[in-house]
Amino acid sequence: MDALINIFRLNNIIKINFRVMIPILFLCAIGLIALKSTSIDTLGEHSVFYKQFVWLFCGLLIFIFFQFIRNQAFYEYAYILYFILLLLIAATLFMPAINNSTRWILIGSFQFQPSEFGKIIIIFALARFISDYKDTLNDNQLIIFSFIIGLLPLLLIFKQPDYGTGLMYLLPMLPMLYWSGVKFKILSLYLFPILSMLAAMNLLAYYMWMVFLIFILVYHKFRLDTIIFNFIINITFGLFNAYAWTYLLKDYHKGRIIDFMQSIFNPENSNLMGIGYQAFQSKVAIGSGGFLGKGLGEGTQSYLRFLPIKDSDFILSVISEEMGLFLVTTIVITFLVFLYFVIDYAQRLFNKFYSLCLVGFCSILFFHIIINMSMVSGLFPVIGLPFPFISYGGSFMLSCFIMIAIINNIINNDL
């Protein structure tokens, strides 16, 4: 009982940090406007616009709730939460599949996607681990152990399969490790194999990358055995990609990747109505928007149902079509303002855990945004990551609000 009371700090006075919150509220407002325009044909309670209000209200309640939590509790319970997360994600594998994937825990009509909230928990676990062991472990050990922390849930999530979310368990690690003081030189050694995997999709690119890799390794004056070992690892990972292609990827992933490659290298003959249909229609919608857009409610592409799932993952193409490059740039700048302030606060925090949490949350939002933007503009295969605060509802919107609530709480109470 005492432990439970310890989690809360009920006498807290809610303060809102406007530097952080105004950009977020701005993004929410843009999302609402865009959904208003996509949902003209379904009025009333069924409209997405109305439902988004409900989601935002839920977000607000969550925000208030988290202001009463003592932040130190996140540190204390980080590992416990982490294990609960592992159990929950493992439990989803035994749930009935929806659309061929078992991401959800179903209790009656209630759906719950643990991997979505796991994005937050993984930040806690990493932040605690790094802040605890930064001084006792060397950089290599730190990176490897952090990697393992992220990898355990990731493997379970890949089994579901949900590659988009899985990616979010590994990517935030890089800024966090860097922020904790790991040398970039060492961190980059661990990044190279990923680049090798990507490069291995094309044989020529693979050769060129290998030559370039040797050059970098030599330039950075690593020890000879490190260079050789790293080089072998990189070649293996390149081969692993070919293995992954044959045995690990599902057909629709292959389809998407092939479509994507085709649309880059051979845009004239790409299969417009196939799996690449979404990406193509999204590109047309964005391109036809121009600098200032067609005006609210005038987006013919998204209107005429050319554009599927326009409310969630592809909301940005609706915005681009109706409000143009101008608003897209504004959105990016808004996010950068938010990013700048939060990193600034992170630097001023003396508590390493809090500081790492702030960076971790920022990087999750950041990676969502860049992947979503690349996805809708055809730079990246469609993997189904929504745009924070703008895309329509879902567990992701709630977890975004949790992140913002914790950031706000940390800045107000622990700075």
């Binding site: 003209i40 069924h46 391109g287 036809s288 600098f291 897209v328 990193i343 992170a346 630097q347 503009s377």
Partner: protein, 606 residues
């Protein structure tokens, strides 16, 4: 202190590095947007088509319904909807309908008033609706459509969409089997779309509302296709833009029913002048060969949109209720046919040789006297003779010796009082009075305040033994009873689809000799008993059957015949139930009809 300061310096550098790398990562993505929206703007603008490329939905035709020999019963016919796309009919500069739009032509050919149409167009010219063609007139003839199409240059924004409609091509009615379709409304659309995620319903689609159209809705329905049509800057439809970008229509697969159109025709002819029901089945697999309900209604008015109110009113006000699906929803006292169920219980308890004397009437209590149909009496009878002569007195006496609960139990096993499980909607359960039901219905207090619950004394139990009183059954349940006897102990649940997979089999655990006894009893009932009229003079056929004369408080007795015929040559069987409401004795009209069916069946065995 110094460490903290150094730490701050370090993090200060890292802060800058993180922030700038974020900015740098954003740059190529923003450049990509710049490339799409500014550099390639014109290309994508053209692709987006400035409203010139339209996705138009093409309605999928529903599956054709055939009889068992692939003679079409329900087919599709193309009708044309006269539709208008508001965005195309409105001049983009003046925001008014094009001056050249030829209202007079439309008025003269399909008779839509100019003012009416203008009002409609302006009311649709807003929000999302202006991009959707709206239907100005449904079911335009082919000739009118062609005439208007010749002047299409004067009619910007006009679209003719082909819509498949149902047409009933055979000479049999089959109204209750085939059923009809209705247009989806918004509420229905939401409800249906949740069930079926593969094929979504959209504006103007139909769904099966009754009969097979309803039961096999998800099977019969195809998937709508999409067509990309090029609309030029004047708003005139220039035809399909690019075939490969469309989505092909998936036609609904055809449905082969088990109906034999010839038997069906006979059934409908017989019942033409009377009220009743006929079901013909193949007992060996549960396929229904003919299914007639009389009077029935004409399905043809359903083919052109909603049925006019006056036709509905005639149907609803008809005292004979043509909308009632009698074979499965009509509930009647089964009469003597039900004696077969009682007999199976007598046989089970081994009392078939016990004789009772019938002298024309039977005194249940001092006030209640029940009569046999033969008021002169049948004399001494055992079970077999009682079945052959359909003696009521025998059964009154025999039932008194039986347990009421066991009688209820065995009736339920024969599927009385429960759904048989046919693949048509609105099947009724009938009624088997249980002890609980009877107690509830017949408990009363007399003037002295004494509670009477002994309903069995009033003859209710005896009544049940001969299928009268509380017992109600649908014709389907009666033919099901015959199927049990024909198959000697099991049935396949009745269905209307030929060669259906996964037909449910139901068994009743009784000794084989009981089935043989019942089988012989109904054989003799036709040969020498009440069912004589149903027998046919053909050495290839063995006819078995049982008549029923169900007393009916509302009027004349209902006439029943239930039985089956076996062809000696092919060993094929056909079971049959005939019910004629107020038809008098079962030995009369119903048996006569059965006779003709059996004869047709045997004559058509090759």
């Amino acid at each position: 202190m110094i460490i903290r300061l150094l730490n701050r310096l370090n993090t200060y550098f890292r802060k800058k590095a993180l922030f700038y790398s974020a900015v740098i990562i954003f740059l190529p993505i923003l450049f990509r947007f710049f490339e799409l929206q500014v550099i390639d703007y014109n290309k994508y603008k053209k692709l987006a088509g400035n409203n010139s490329l339209r996705a138009i939905e093409i309605k999928a035709p529903r599956g054709i319904i055939y009889d068992r020999d692939s003679i079409p019963l329900v087919d599709n016919i193309y009708n044309y909807n006269f539709e208008i796309m508001p965005i195309d009919i409105i001049d983009k500069r003046s925001k008014e309908i094009y001056q050249k739009f030829n209202f007079a032509l439309i008025d003269s050919i399909i008779g839509i008033n100019k003012n009416e149409l203008t009002k409609k167009i302006y009311s649709r010219n807003k929000g999302i609706e202006k991009f959707h063609p709206f239907i100005a007139k449904r079911f335009v003839d082919f000739n009118d459509m062609v005439m208007l199409k010749e002047h299409i240059i004067d009619l910007p924004g006009v679209i003719f969409s082909e819509i498949p409609a149902r047409t009933h091509v055979s000479d049999v009615n089959l109204s209750h089997v085939l059923g009809y379709v209705r247009l989806v409304d918004n509420e229905r659309k939401i409800k249906l779309n949740k069930q079926d995620t593969l094929f979504q319903y959209s504006y103007g689609d139909v769904y099966g509302f009754s009969g097979l159209e309803k039961s096999y809705e998800s099977y019969l329905r195809g998937a709508n296709g999409a067509q990309y049509r090029l609309i030029d800057y004047r708003g005139v439809d220039q035809g399909v833009f690019n075939n490969k970008d469309g989505r092909d229509v998936i036609n609904g697969p055809s449905l082969i029913t088990s109906i034999d159109i010839n038997l069906q025709r006979i059934a409908e002819n017989f019942l033409k002048d009377s009220v009743g029901a006929i079901i013909c089945m193949d007992p060996t697999n549960g396929e229904i060969l003919a299914f007639a309900s009389s009077p029935d209604f004409d399905l043809k008015p359903f083919n052109k949109g909603p049925v006019p109110q006056d036709i509905w009113d005639t149907w609803n006000s008809d005292p004979n209720n043509p909308l009632l699906n009698r074979p499965i929803s009509g509930q009647y006292p089964p009469g003597s046919v039900f004696k077969l169920v009682t007999a199976s219980l007598i046989l089970k308890s081994g009392k078939e040789e016990v004789k009772y004397k019938c002298d024309g009437e039977y005194q249940i209590t001092k006030d209640v006297v029940k009569k046999c149909w033969n008021t002169e009496g049948h004399g001494e009878l055992n079970l077999k003779d009682a079945l052959i002569n359909s003696c009521n007195v025998y059964f009154y006496e025999a039932v008194e010796k039986l347990s009421f609960d066991e009688l209820v139990q065995i009736s339920k096993e024969f599927n009385f009082g429960d759904l048989v499980g046919i693949d048509l909607p609105n099947e009724k359960k009938g009624l088997i009075p249980t002890r609980k039901y009877m107690n509830k219905k017949y408990r009363y207090r007399d003037e002295l305040g004494v509670l009477h619950t002994n309903w069995a004394v009033g003859g209710a139990k005896a009544n049940m033994g001969i299928g009268q009183g509380e017992v109600l059954a649908t014709p389907l349940q009666v033919v099901n009873l015959i199927n049990f006897i024909a198959n000697k102990g099991y049935i396949y649940s009745p269905h209307l689809i030929k060669n259906k997979d996964n037909v449910i089999r139901k068994d009743i655990e009784l000794s084989p000799w009981i089935w043989t006894f019942l089988d012989n009893a109904i054989y003799n009932a036709v040969k020498e008993g009440t069912g004589k009229n149903a027998d046919i003079l053909n050495s290839d056929a063995i006819v078995r059957g049982k008549t029923g004369t169900a007393q009916n408080p509302q009027g004349e007795d209902h006439s029943w015949f239930a039985g089956y015929v076996t062809s000696k040559k092919t060993l094929k069987k056909m079971s049959l139930v005939v019910l004629v409401e107020n038809g008098g004795s079962g030995a009369g009209v119903a048996s006569n009809m059965a006779h003709d069916f059996f004869e047709y069946f045997i004559d058509n065995q090759d």
